[in-house]
């Protein structure tokens, strides 16, 4: 029962891999049906903003706090962010019919990276991405420029007519839309002027402060006018380079770290011609031949969040302690709402070092066998820093939901079949010896070992 490789590849790259939830589809249906299923993914439900007992807090109220109040506030905000992270992960884990939109949401969080320290603006930022995840890229960027999380992270609060702050304008051009080398420093300066006064107010909502806005004439990408922020974004979208740049990032994330110029151009053209319809671009990708080329299959290092989501699905895990998944994200190097900087997580081999690799390979042991971890993570540079060592994950598993698909097979076929289901590689090292057939937990052992293989780190 080696599952069809193309099906596995499709779900691995555009969803969260094989799980009991999509197993029958992967096994029994052809690629076209799988593509149809995965691209049916609709728009996502917003997640409720975490509620703070003190009501809504905004920068001015935070500024007015004493140091102790501030410390307490950010500590409780961390808990609320954890709660939001958990609920986000649960959406990724449980809603296999929306896998594509969830994967795109995760991608946009890397592409339009933002560090959020306040839970209500984090929720708003996330919900904007979720709303547009498979929608129109132009609308997504227009909405992002109004997100308080982005405005605060990229200092647009300080972008005033008298003293323009270029941070947002620069990252908009360099990282979100055009890519380096496709605009001038004068373009950055003029774009910054167009976004002056784009701020966020008391209620954590976007606020246009007309008195701080520069209504004067600007020259941007070769044309002049009294542009505002929306005009700047529209001008950017007119450039085919914008579609090509985003397509290249999509390619690097979903296909291969080293972009193939011809394929990127093809994807970019589709994106541009569709007027930046994200679903159209992604559906096109699924229908190309090159997406399934052997060089692109089973050679991508899963991100920590993908690994956590897939392992949770596969093992039917229920995390019972509030902070455990946050702890795993931190120790593996990808904490949601906390990318290293505005360039997002670099990914690929950057995920791997001696500590993260061993935790990744031991993860099935930590979850299924609840083996002792004894690991600490840095919570922040501010406080004493280190978390209490997490000795053991507080998690329950239900392996039967996946193993039931294999129970009817003969002992001697089990290993081959599990490998064929769980891995993309055609060959894998033998994980069990012939004498182990007889042991009662043989199937569990196979599952544990196959998911401990370095091969399982790749999707």
């Amino acid at each position: 029962m080696s599952l069809p490789t193309k099906n596995k590849h499709l779900w691995s790259r555009l969803g969260f891999g094989i799980s009991p939830l999509n197993f029958p589809l992967l096994r029994d249906a052809d690629l076209a049906t799988n593509i149809a299923m995965i691209s049916k993914s609709g728009s996502l439900n917003p997640l409720a903003a975490p509620t703070s007992p003190d009501g809504d807090l905004n920068p001015d109220r935070i500024m007015a706090m004493s140091q102790t109040e501030k410390a307490d506030f950010f500590k409780s905000e961390e808990d609320r962010l954890d709660d939001l992270r958990d609920r986000w992960l649960e959406q990724m884990t449980n809603r296999v019919e929306d896998a594509l939109a969830e994967r795109m949401t995760l991608f946009w969080h890397t592409h339009l990276a933002c560090i959020c320290r306040e839970s209500s603006v984090a929720a708003s930022y996330l919900n904007t991405i979720r709303r547009h995840a498979l929608g129109n890229f132009g609308e997504l960027v227009l909405a992002m420029a109004r997100e308080p999380a982005i405005i605060r992270f990229l200092n647009n609060q300080q972008n005033r007519k008298s003293h323009p702050n270029e941070n947002f304008a620069r990252e908009l051009l360099e990282l979100f839309t055009l890519g380096e080398g496709h605009y001038t420093e004068a373009d950055v300066r003029n774009a910054a002027r167009a976004f002056t006064g784009w701020s966020s107010g008391f209620d954590n909502q976007f606020e246009f402060r007309a008195r701080q806005h520069d209504f004067g004439e600007k020259t941007f990408l070769g044309s002049s006018g009294s542009f505002d922020g929306d005009d700047i974004i529209r001008k950017v979208l007119e450039k085919p380079q914008c579609a090509r740049f985003v397509a290249q990032q999509v390619y690097r994330h979903f296909v291969h770290e080293d972009p193939n110029e011809k394929h990127v151009r093809e994807l970019g053209d589709v994106f541009y011609d569709s007027k930046y319809n994200i679903r159209t671009m992604m559906t096109h990708l699924m229908h190309t031949e090159w997406f399934y080329h052997a060089d692109n299959v089973g050679n991508r290092i899963k991100s920590p969040v993908e690994l956590i989501v897939q392992t949770t699905q596969l093992f039917g895990s229920t995390f019972r302690s509030h902070g455990d998944r946050t702890f795993l994200q931190r120790s593996l190097g990808q904490l949601l709402f906390n990318p290293p900087n505005v360039a997002g997580w670099p990914g690929g081999r950057h995920w791997i070092n001696n500590a993260t690799l061993m935790i990744r390979l031991n993860l099935p042991n930590y979850i299924i066998k609840r083996e002792r971890m004894d690991h600490t993570v840095l919570r922040s540079l501010k406080s004493e820093g280190l978390s209490k060592p997490v000795q053991q994950l507080d998690v329950r598993v239900n392996l039967e939901s996946i193993l039931s698909y294999f129970r009817h097979l003969e002992y001697q076929d089990l290993e081959k079949n599990l490998v064929g289901a769980l891995l993309l590689q055609e060959k894998a090292p033998t994980v069990a010896s012939g004498r182990e057939y007889k042991s009662k937990d043989y199937l569990e052992r196979l599952l544990l070992r196959i998911t401990s293989l370095p091969e399982f780190q790749l999707g």
């Binding site: 004493s66 900087n341 001696n354 390979l361 501010k382 820093g385 090292p429 790749l458």
Partner: protein, 399 residues
């Protein structure tokens, strides 16, 4: 007991017999650092208040800006008639007197950021303020094919996680808290068997090959480091604190002739916006007791002249204290070196000019990357330019 004897008795006399087989296959001659020098980097996370570390205790402007927080002539440990040590640094007083301490004032970089994480990234990656690098400066040192860099444990971070400073693009440093933690992390029978079975098999696909290679390297390095960490037991008394245990670990590994040339360790908690006095005092006491014990260990084994300890923080603090008996995020700060090999110890440059501030903050005078350049070029013996990505002049007469 003599260290050499210790090492001989524990059967580890020859470093080359201890080199893991897998690694040895890939390597040319047996291990010996070309320079023989060891660098220890200590990161004080959170932004240490440099003005209350090396204190301009007689200066009017200092006392006026710090009405509640200044350390006065009565309590300071005077080094000169102008500058004194924070009293909690008493254990390091002998190092100043013996010419084993060099303080570099007003270190920073242009357009400083006051964000902890961003500024720490800048220090760790040696980037400009508006540049995002994905590799650390010591990671790029490992990437530079320096002598012995192909060993996974050439640079070790004491802790559970590997920070950006030691991450390169070809090679990374190695994170370990202690032997026990490392054993627990690698103690997986299935993975061990897998590692030895697959050692000689080249895997299809570059990433799969990389994962196997890394796994096997980690297992073999862990075996090596666990054994090395048992060779020598320090008799010094280190503070009971993770930082104290960490420095003890470093002292023991160095004394066991471990082929590790760079050690990296952090002491967090310096973000003293409120009640700075008690908090900084506690942290600096832990720091100085631990470092003094480390130096005593190294001297006992005649290794201090081969060791350089650099201490830095991601930024200093505002000159004027705030309303909560604390200080807010600042910019330029001091960096200090401790070693038995300093050419002209004492103070590298003048104390910061408190009458010339920008927005209440000190103005930087020496780019921190010049200190890195000095350590790379004159201590570790590698050309710094490719590692620091541009030319930063080494400081004169440091080592």
């Amino acid at each position: 007991m003599d260290r050499r004897l210790f090492i001989q008795q524990s059967g580890l006399a020859s470093a080359s017999t201890m080199v893991p087989g897998f690694v040895r296959d890939l390597r040319v001659p047996p291990q010996q650092s070309r320079s023989g020098k060891i660098l220890i980097v200590i990161q004080l996370s959170g932004g240490n208040d440099g003005l209350n570390t090396f204190v301009p205790y007689r200066e009017d402007l200092y006392q006026r800006n710090r009405p509640g927080l200044h350390i006065g002539p009565k309590t300071v440990l005077a080094l000169t008639d102008q500058v004194g040590l924070h009293p909690a640094l008493a254990d390091l007083r002998p190092q100043y007197d013996l010419g084993e301490l060099l303080v570099i004032n007003s270190v920073g970089y242009p357009n400083p950021t006051r964000s902890h994480f961003r500024s720490m990234d800048i220090w760790q990656t040696a980037s400009h303020a508006d540049q995002y690098l994905q590799t650390g400066w010591l990671g790029r040192y490992l990437d530079s094919d320096c002598f012995g860099c192909d060993q996974a444990y050439h640079a070790v971070e004491i802790g559970d996680n590997l920070g950006l400073a030691l991450q390169g693009s070809k090679r990374d440093g190695f994170a370990m808290r202690d032997g026990n933690q490392l054993r627990r992390l690698t103690d997986n029978e299935f993975l061990h068997t897998l590692g030895s079975d697959q050692k000689r098999t080249r895997k299809a696909g570059p990433n799969l090959d990389y994962l196997y290679k890394t796994m096997i390297e980690v297992q073999e390095s862990a075996d090596y480091l666990i054994q090395k960490s048992k060779v020598y037991t320090s008799s010094q008394s280190y503070p009971v604190h993770s930082f104290g245990r960490g420095l003890k670990q470093i002292a023991e590994l160095i004394s066991a002739d471990t082929d590790t040339r760079v050690y990296y360790i952090s002491l967090p908690g310096f973000d003293t916006h409120a009640n700075q006095f008690a908090r900084q005092e506690k942290l600096l006491r832990t720091y100085s007791q631990a470092v003094a014990a480390l130096i005593a260990d190294l001297k006992h084994n005649k290794l201090f002249a081969d060791t350089m300890i650099m201490t830095f923080s991601e930024f200093g603090r505002r000159v004027e204290e705030n309303g909560s008996r604390g200080t807010d995020h600042g910019t330029a700060n001091n960096v200090w070196l401790l070693s038995g090999a300093l050419k002209e110890p004492g103070f590298y440059n003048d104390m910061p000019d408190l009458s010339n501030l920008v927005n209440g903050d000190l103005i930087f005078e020496i780019d921190f990357r010049r200190i890195y350049a000095t350590l790379l070029e004159n201590w570790l013996g590698v050309p710094p330019q490719d590692i620091l990505l541009e030319n930063f002049a080494a400081l004169d007469s440091v080592v």
